[in-house]
Structures are given as C-alpha cells and as structure tokens.
C-alpha cells in the first residue's frame, strides 16, 4: 500500500498499528491522521451521503469536513485527529452507524 503513495514522508517517527476500513496500516504515532492516511496511500476517505461521490481531505485545517471518518461510532475530522496505537477507523456511517 505504501508504494502506491503519491506522497513523500520526511519524518521517520515510530509507527503504530491502526485499522482503516478493515485494512491494517502502520502509521506514525502522534501524526495527523488525515496526513498519515494519505501518505499511506489512502485516497478516498469516504463517499458522500448525498450522491455517493468519493472524497478525501481538502483543507487540512478543520474547516471543510471532507475528511470525515468514523471512530468509536462518532464521525470525526481525520485532519483534527491524532494517530494512536490500535485506532480503528471506518468510513463514516458506511454500514449503519449508531447501532
């Protein structure tokens, strides 16, 4: 997955294991989750509830809400979330959240 990344990472932080949409990923601990997912080759973060169009991070500053992911049953902005060990991330409300 890493080799497909369109991004270069300058830093070499220790990595932790997270799960995104069922796939195990190794991301830099303490990193910005949106940046780390993109660097790991994730393009599509979610599909919109209106048309199902694919979306990824756009503003990286908490303003646009395009990088929404779901963590512990709550939608969160990936660009405002820090990578921690064992984080389980799903695509927002894909399989019916709040159950």
């Amino acid at each position: 997955m890493k080799t497909a990344s369109p991004f270069l990472e300058l830093d070499n932080e220790p990595r932790v294991n997270v799960v995104f949409d069922g796939n195990a990923l190794s991301l830099p601990e303490g990193a910005n989750l949106a940046a780390a997912l993109m660097a790991a080759g994730v393009n599509v973060f979610r599909h919109t509830p209106v048309s199902g169009a694919p979306r990824g991070p756009f503003c990286m500053m908490g303003a646009c809400f395009d990088c929404l992911v779901e963590i512990d049953g709550t939608t969160k902005q990936a660009c405002m979330t820090v990578v921690t060990d064992g984080l389980e991330i799903t695509r927002a409300h894909r399989d019916g959240a709040l159950t």
Binding site: P6, L8, D11, N32, N43, T48, P54, M60
Partner: protein, 470 residues
C-alpha cells in the same frame, strides 16, 4: 464556570500577540484554540517543526517561535484542542474538549479566527487529491508530507511560496498553472507606490519566482478553462493557455486564488460585515483598534480582512491595548504611546496589499462557475441550482439555503457562502451587500448530542411538549 477578563479565540499570530500584550498589562487571558499546538495555520506546530525542517519552511515561518514563546506566560491559559461552538452574549463561550462540553465567561472577546482559502469551484474540484494550497502547506509543516506528483493551480504569492518550499524539499511541482494575466500585472502597477513601501515582500516574491524558473518548473500563465479529470481521484488537470489545450497528469492538485476572512464566529455574534471590492469578500466593520459594532467584541488578524501574518501580529497587539484601556489597566495616553510602533508596523505590512490584490485577482470563472459545477461541497449544490432558485424568487442566501440546502452541511457554508452571494448578486443585479450572507448560528462546529446533553442543567420537561410543532 471559569472566567477571564479576555478570551481569545484562535492561537495564530493575532491571537498570540494579543494574549501576550493583554497579559503583560495585567489582564487574565484564556486562549482557546482547536489545534494541539500554538501557531495557527501560518505557524502550524512551529515549536516542534522548526528543528525538523525550519530550513525548508524559511525564516518567516521560524519567526512564529517568538510568538509562541510569549504565549507561555503565567497569566495566559492556553487551552489546546478546544473547539468553540457557541458564543453567547457578554460573553459565555461554549466549547468541546476531549469529548466534553465546557464553558467559560469573559468580559471581552477577541476573535482571531484567521482566514480560509477562497473557494475555487471548478469542474472536478471535489475529487480526492484536489486540495487547497494551504492544505499542501499544512501537510508539509505539520506532517512533513510532500506531494510527489502535484500541480499548483491558481494565482497569488502563496502559490510561489509552496512551490519554493517543495523545491527545497526535493519534490518540485510538476507544473504551475497560473490564472493571472499580464494585464492584471500591468493594471496593478498603479499600486506600485504602496508595493515599494512594502518592497521586502516583492523582493521575496521575485526571489521565489526566480528559483521556480531556475528549477525548470513549467509555468503556464493567463490560463483559462481549468478542469480536474478523474473518476475516484484526481488524475489530470486540463486547461487552455494561449490558444492551446493542455492536459497534465498528476496525483495531487493544489488550488489557490487568495484567502478570505473566516467570519463565522463574528457573524454568529451579529457583527456587521460589508463587502470589500478589492479583496472580493466580506469583512467585519471595525474601528482602528479592531473593535466591532458589538460591544466587547474585537477582531484581529486575517479574520478582520486579509493582511498576512505580520499584520495580524500588530493588529492583535493594538486590540489588546484598547481592551486593556477599556478595562482600566492603561490610560489613553499610554495606550496611544504603546500603539505607535505596532500601528506603523501594520501600515508597512499593508502597503503592498493593493498591489498584490490587483496583480493576483481571483480566477473569475471560479467566482461565477458554470451551471454544472458544485459550489456547496457538503450538500452537492451546483451553481446552476443557485441560479434556478434566483429565478424562483430567492434574493438572499438564506432563501437558497432553504430551497436547495447549500450551506446546510457540516462546514456551515464556509466554502460556499461567498459563491452563493456572488451568484445571487449576479442573477438579481443587486450588490453583495444587498444580497447578504448566511445567518450563522451555533454550533459553529459540529458537537455531539452527548456532549451537548452533558451540559444540560435542567431535566427534560416532558409536560411542556404538548404543543405540536409543525
């Protein structure tokens, strides 16, 4: 509930400078900021990042460490990770932090909420891989993440800055697709007097441009008909330059055609805004201390009108002087004496603005996009939808919001508001001021119902629910 003489919203240059000045003059100050570290977007994560890549980011970025140092003062409570979602009268501020709702009271409030990238709706702009140039900068600053195969699209100094930084990091952009024309530059020369007073900016700009040209990055200027192609992600940018059609494949597109004030919090407080024609955006009406027409509400930095980081720093200091004066901590004479230096600094910083605004105007087709282009990313409302609502009698953005949901999504209209105003003004023949803007209400940022309910002090009164509400 805690209480401060002054609550500052935003820990960018304006907020940091204001907090430091107010605390120095004896006020208790709380700074609420969404990020984990002080700096705002311009000095994002500056304390941690300078040792890692200060050389790539440059001296202007490194300067931010002087502001963060001043923020670490005993009388300043800097609350990180605080998402402000409501500011109620005189003043009770509600925010969430680590999943809990919190409130703080303040006598006065300084909004230092900075800027947003001017929305640049063009075909394909919602595809993954298309980001703002500011997002590209944040990726580099905070995360050390660089796009390997990117094109920069739009106009303005930030485009050259990010290109120069990408060069220094060893990942030059694949191309610069620039929308400003030679005519814009010639027209801008009537502002050259001001620009020369702010000459250091021009020198820096020319130096960056020279490095981009020297590195052989292809530049296309006066570009039109820009579109991003792709199915699940951006794959190429197409455009016209001269009489030729171009197509450049890429993985990442950074868009930029200026920044605009983030006015959400100010508008939620009912501060009067007016249209600034030179900057093509709404700005809050303020006196020269940053005081708004709502008592106790001050605004400084790019949120008050675009001036850049150094200007924000001076404006923050000036606002803090007036706040201290009002609070009885400073005589008027002393206030004015201390204001002389920041006021001169502010004038110097703003001198080059008219030239820059004229030389790098917004990309006109993105101000009034084609019918099929989505302008509201959240609710996927197109420019054509807004035009059709105008035909159904909508004369303001709150009417089109009701008709077609533009501005109803989680971003609260941050990225479609100016587009809707512009489209309606164009359709009705009225001015942007007459057309108006969204009524901004809490929550300024989404908050979970659980967080809200956790702040509930009264039990639900079910007996009151007898009246139907339809």
């Amino acid at each position: 509930m805690t209480r401060s003489d002054l609550v500052v919203v935003g820990a960018g240059p304006a907020g940091m400078a204001a907090a430091a000045q107010a605390a120095e003059l004896g006020l208790s100050v709380t700074v609420l900021d969404e990020q984990a570290c002080a700096g705002g977007q311009i000095y994002r994560d500056v304390d941690r990042v300078v040792p890692l890549r200060g050389d790539i980011l440059g001296a202007d970025y490194v300067h931010g460490t002087t502001l963060t140092a001043a923020l670490r003062r005993a009388a300043i409570s800097h609350v990180t990770g605080a998402v402000v979602w409501a500011i109620e009268d005189a003043f009770r501020i509600s925010y969430t932090r680590e999943g809990r709702g919190v409130q703080i009271e303040a006598d006065r409030i300084l909004l230092a909420t900075g800027a947003l990238e001017r929305s640049m709706p063009l075909p394909g702009w919602t595809l993954p891989g298309v980001m703002t140039a500011g997002a590209g900068q944040i990726l580099l600053k905070q995360s050390g993440v660089l796009a390997r195969n990117a094109v920069l699209v739009g106009s303005g100094p930030l485009l050259y800055l990010i290109a120069a930084q990408m060069l220094r990091a060893g990942t030059p952009p694949k191309a610069m697709i620039e929308t400003q024309s030679r005519g814009d530059l010639i027209g801008a020369t009537r502002h050259i007097g001001g620009a020369l007073r702010g000459a250091s900016y021009l020198v820096k700009g020319l130096r960056m441009l020279a490095s981009i040209i020297r590195a052989g990055v292809p530049r296309h200027t006066g570009v039109t008909d820009i579109a991003v192609e792709g199915t699940d992600k951006a794959e190429a940018v197409t455009f016209q330059s001269g009489r030729r059609s171009h197509r450049i494949t890429c993985d990442t597109v950074f868009l930029h055609h200026g920044v605009v004030p983030n006015t959400q919090a100010a508008r939620s407080l009912g501060v009067t805004h007016s249209w600034n024609t030179a900057q093509q955006c709404f700005v809050p009406q303020l006196d020269d201390w940053g005081q708004s027409d709502r008592a106790g509400v001050f605004i400084a930095g790019d949120g008050a009108g675009i001036g850049g980081a150094k200007a924000a720093e001076h404006a923050g200091t000036l606002a803090a002087l007036q706040i201290a004066c009002e609070a009885g901590r400073l005589s008027r004479e002393e206030r004015d004496r201390r204001a002389a230096a920041p006021r001169a600094g502010l004038a110097h910083e703003l001198a080059a603005r008219p030239f820059l605004d004229a030389a790098y105007p917004p990309y006109a087709p993105a101000l009034l996009p084609d019918d099929s282009t989505p302008i509201c990313r959240c609710e996927e409302v197109t420019a054509g939808d807004i035009r059709s609502y105008a035909k159904l009698g909508c004369i303001g953005p709150n009417q089109t919001k009701a008709f077609g949901r533009a501005g109803m999504g989680p971003c609260q209209g941050r990225y479609c508001g100016l587009s809707v105003t512009a489209l309606l003004a164009d359709a009705t023949g009225r001015t942007p001021d007459e057309t108006g803007y969204y009524r901004i209400r809490p929550p300024l940022k989404p908050v979970t119902l659980g967080e809200l309910a956790g702040m509930n002090i009264t039990a639900p009164d079910t007996a009151e629910k007898e009246k139907a509400h339809d």
